[in-house]
């Protein structure tokens, strides 16, 4: 096990990325403390100020762990498989368990190093008073460690079943998001229900680290209302996260052996060659069957765009159609529930939920679709072949961008019926809906350009995808961390300035979502995002031109 830990850790610690992460994290923590460190001569005995800082620090640290901890384990096994070194490892005297634990401990080791960089900030919070090592800071670190273990085992499981590094990253981040957010939904919707239903949803909610962190930081519960008080969230999280880690580890154990490499070559059977019954069944299931022998590319269509559609496992037409249908159903269901009074949220809250649904779709899908547009070509050697065709750099770029834009248009359009129902219910919402749609279109453009620009800057698709996700999450959701500390420790003006950067906050403001109406974010956000889009487009065009020039 030791040689694997040493190799993995050393390999990572030697990279510039690792250094940048450590320095960046330390710098952010230092800035946070410097901003909130008391400068006056009067001490604050209640500890409220310390708790304010600890909350920001706690949520920031959790976001950092959820963002950074899965990246290494998600790619480690699949990278070995792709480079052919996994066969060498499996052929060595190291057992499957040794390989697994070596990789897991190396990933956790790196996360531990990152967590260590945050210790001075936590110590400063403790020094401010109002929190204890065992009660506040200690428990927070315990949850962070458990969260790191949870997402690392999940990442390794995905890695053992993936065929490409960027695919592994996409699935891992998608699952991390799902594990953190989805378990909160049943509790939110079924608050006040009787046991055993309430017990079950409490335990399901225990899968997400968010309620546990909120409890440690003394902030109650997600979406809690009235007299409802959480409690026991930490214990439930400890049990559920440990259970999930063990299950993930067991599922990965069964894969880390020769079975990972023992895969038959796909027979390549086409639907046209199957029996009539199968053909009919596939037509019903897929609508656009991916295994149907496709017609040649029409001369009026950009061949690069068609190629992009065909090479994406997820971006193929049948997946897009399924997703479009799901979005349309979700959007209409939300509006219907609101209209029939089944949910007493009000139209503004429904609008906010729709905005969050669309933004989640954008953040989840755009980096996975656009993060590898150019880097995948460079990684696989396809870029050189593309340059050998008579296609101009402009045509290549256009085809690639259109291959992302079309699915996005379909996805966003699928969520529009919800807005139409809202406008029908309350015609005065028309202007509000237009503002939301304009913000979303700008956000989608921004997300596509961020991901495409990242893919033109990196040779590795995994690096480009991770950068795209990190940048989008930091810009879209990062400011919401500051918003959490509105009133204290951050003032109205500071929160407003920071929120202006975030397209999510702007969209929530446009839809008059409670909590965002007090801030004047539009049209400043539109101008900011439009300027950023212009800069990113320029960068993308210049990089593509550079890459398509002869050496």
């Amino acid at each position: 096990m030791t040689p694997i830990i040493r190799r993995e850790l050393l390999e990572w610690m030697r990279t510039r990325k690792a250094l940048a992460l450590q320095v960046g994290l330390a710098a952010v923590c230092a800035i946070l403390i410097l901003v909130r460190w008391p400068t006056g001569g009067v001490g604050e005995l209640s500890g409220a100020r310390s708790l304010e800082v600890l909350r920001i620090f706690g949520y920031g640290a959790l976001a950092g762990i959820l963002l950074l901890a899965p990246a290494l384990p998600a790619t480690t096994l699949v990278r070995e498989k792709m480079s052919g070194t996994l066969a060498l490892l499996l052929n060595s005297p190291l057992s499957g368990q040794s390989i697994y634990f070596g990789k897991l401990l190396a990933s956790l080791g790196f996360t531990a190093i990152l967590l260590t960089m945050t210790v001075p900030a936590a110590a400063a919070c403790y020094a401010l008073g109002g929190t204890t090592i065992r009660g506040g800071v200690g428990l927070l670190y315990a949850i962070l460690c458990l969260a790191a273990l949870q997402v690392s085992t999940l990442g390794l499981l995905v890695s053992s079943r993936s065929q490409s590094t960027d695919g592994a990253l996409r699935v891992t981040y998608g699952l991390v998001l799902a594990v953190c957010v989805l378990p909160l939904a049943p509790h939110w919707l079924l608050q006040g229900s009787e046991p055993p239903l309430s017990e079950i949803v409490e335990w399901i909610r225990g899968l997400s680290p968010i309620p546990a962190v909120m409890e440690v930081l003394g902030q109650g519960d997600v979406g809690s209302r009235g007299m409802s008080i959480g409690g026991g969230a930490m214990v439930r999280y400890a049990v559920m996260a440990s259970l999930m880690s063990v299950l993930c580890a067991l599922a990965t154990f069964s894969r880390v052996n020769h079975k990972m490499l023992d895969r038959a070559r796909p027979a390549g059977i086409m639907t046209q060659d199957r029996a009539l019954g199968t053909r009919i069944m596939r037509r019903m299931l897929f609508l656009v069957d991916p295994q149907r022998r496709s017609r040649g590319i029409s001369r009026f269509v950009n061949p690069v765009m068609v190629k992009e559609f065909r090479t994406r496992r997820f971006g193929r037409a049948h997946w897009i159609l399924r997703l479009v249908a799901l979005c349309a159903i979700l959007s209409l269901a939300l509006s219907y529930l609101s209209a029939t009074g089944a949910l007493g949220w009000g139209l503004e809250a429904i609008g906010g939920a729709l905005v969050l649904l669309q933004i989640s779709l954008l953040i989840l899908f755009v980096p996975s679709l656009a993060g590898g547009l150019i880097s995948t070509e460079r990684e696989s050697g396809g870029w050189r072949l593309l340059l050998m065709t008579p296609l101009s750099a402009g045509a290549i770029l256009r085809g690639k961008l259109m291959s992302v834009v079309w699915p996005l248009i379909l996805l966003l359009c699928a969520t529009l019926p919800g807005y139409i129902v809202m406008m029908h219910l309350k015609p005065t919402l028309e202007v509000q809906v237009y503002r939301v749609v304009a913000t979303l279109v700008l956000t989608a453009t921004f997300a596509v350009l961020v991901s495409a620009a990242a893919s033109s800057l990196f040779r590795s698709t995994a690096a480009a995808t991770t950068t795209s996700y990190s940048a989008l999450l930091a810009i879209c959701l990062g400011p919401l961390l500051i918003w959490l500390g509105r009133g204290a420790p951050f003032g109205h003006r500071a929160v407003e300035t920071i929120l202006t950067v975030s397209p999510v906050a702007a969209a929530l403001h446009a839809s008059d979502t409670p909590g965002f109406t007090d801030y004047a974010l539009l049209p400043a956000n539109w101008w900011l995002i439009a300027a950023a889009c212009l800069a990113l487009l320029t960068l993308l065009v210049v990089r593509t031109w550079q890459l398509s020039r002869p050496d």
Partner: protein, 343 residues
């Protein structure tokens, strides 16, 4: 372009990366329908030269032309004229072979109906018709090579550049590949092929270019190249028996330069020697042997093959490197490698 003009021509082609000279005044010409074997050790500058010729790199100085088109001034026209099969395949995940070729056909502007026929043709030519419905990423290395050849031929290029085309192919596929290269040349295509398997090239190439450290060391037909590289010819005299072998050695020594290397093998009943003498002088030696009443069954030149020629260049290159002041260990290790190859 006149009919007698070379299809591929370079003149003083030089490429520098900072201080490193990757290509040093390369001048050569290849005519229509010829196959040029481009030989050189790793890092010799072969791929750099090919990249300039296909328009993927710009030379620092000098000129390069393909079918009368300047590679630097008109790279877009060059793309239609040449087919390039690089040393890496360029896989697209989740794509079937037919879709893969369909994409490249569309990128080259081949009309859909014509494209379908063309894909079948090139797959047939490359012996890859059975792979049509398979996923590209699932193919073995040899199968990918065949698909890459099909892709290279798709737009019917006049000049084809192939970087290690036989890499990963099984023996039967190698023989088929040789046939394919000869077929293409017969159809008037000009081929520039690099390979490390030199006997393979010797079977198909009309011209050979040996390049080391960016410099062209030898260029011409195989015979010309071996002559350029090794002025001494190796001759063999075969006898009916070994009893008069000493007498043969004596006669040979009288007719050769002083200090010439002569070896006899009584077990084989053969005498071998290396000489720079011309045909007429060798004819005199044969006459002398017969006049002495020696029972000579064969008097012939031992053909120096491409491998031998390449090793001669590699060895002289090692000596050059040593003279240039490269470290002793480096020179020693390279010499050792040469010895190993030789043995």
């Amino acid at each position: 372009m006149a009919s007698g003009d070379p299809v591929v021509a370079t003149k003083d082609l030089t490429k520098k990366y900072g201080k490193l000279v990757a290509l040093d005044r390369l001048t050569m010409a290849v005519e229509r329908g010829q196959i040029l074997g481009f030989i050189g050790p790793n890092g010799a500058g072969k791929t750099t030269a090919i990249k300039i010729l296909v328009g993927l790199a710009r030379p620092t100085s000098g000129s390069a032309q393909v079918a009368g088109t300047d590679c630097v001034a008109d790279p877009r026209k060059i793309r239609r004229l040449v087919g390039y099969m690089p040393d890496i395949f360029g896989v697209y995940d989740n794509m079937r072979v037919s879709e893969y070729l369909d994409f490249f056909g569309a990128a080259f502007g081949i009309r859909r109906r014509e494209r379908v026929q063309r894909i079948d043709q090139v797959l047939e030519t490359a012996g890859a018709s059975n792979f049509k419905d398979l996923y590209v990423e699932a193919l073995s290395h040899g199968m990918k090579q065949r698909v890459a050849i099909a892709r290279t031929l798709l737009h019917d290029p006049a000049v084809i550049f192939m970087d290690e085309p036989t890499n990963g192919l099984d023996p039967q596929a190698r023989i088929e590949m040789r046939q394919l290269l000869l077929d293409l040349a017969r159809r008037g295509k000009t081929l520039i092929v690099t390979s490390h398997v030199l006997p393979e090239l010797s079977h198909v190439c009309d011209r050979v270019a040996i390049i080391t450290r960016g410099k062209l060391r030898a260029f011409g037909t195989q015979e010309e190249v071996t002559r350029q590289l090794s002025p001494l010819r190796e001759m063999e005299v075969l006898l009916t028996g070994s009893d008069r072998i000493a007498q043969v050695v004596e006669v040979v020594r009288k007719h050769l330069e002083s200090g010439a290397s002569i070896q006899s093998s009584p077990a084989e009943a053969v005498v071998r020697f290396r000489t720079a003498r011309r045909e007429e002088e060798l004819a005199k030696l044969l006459a002398a042997l017969i006049a002495s009443g020696l029972d000579v069954t064969q008097f012939r030149e031992v053909q120096t093959d491409l491998e031998e020629a390449f090793l001669t260049v590699a060895r002289s290159d090692d000596n050059g490197a040593a003279e240039m002041g490269l470290s002793k260990t480096h020179g020693k290790s390279k010499a050792l490698i040469s010895e190993e190859i030789k043995s």
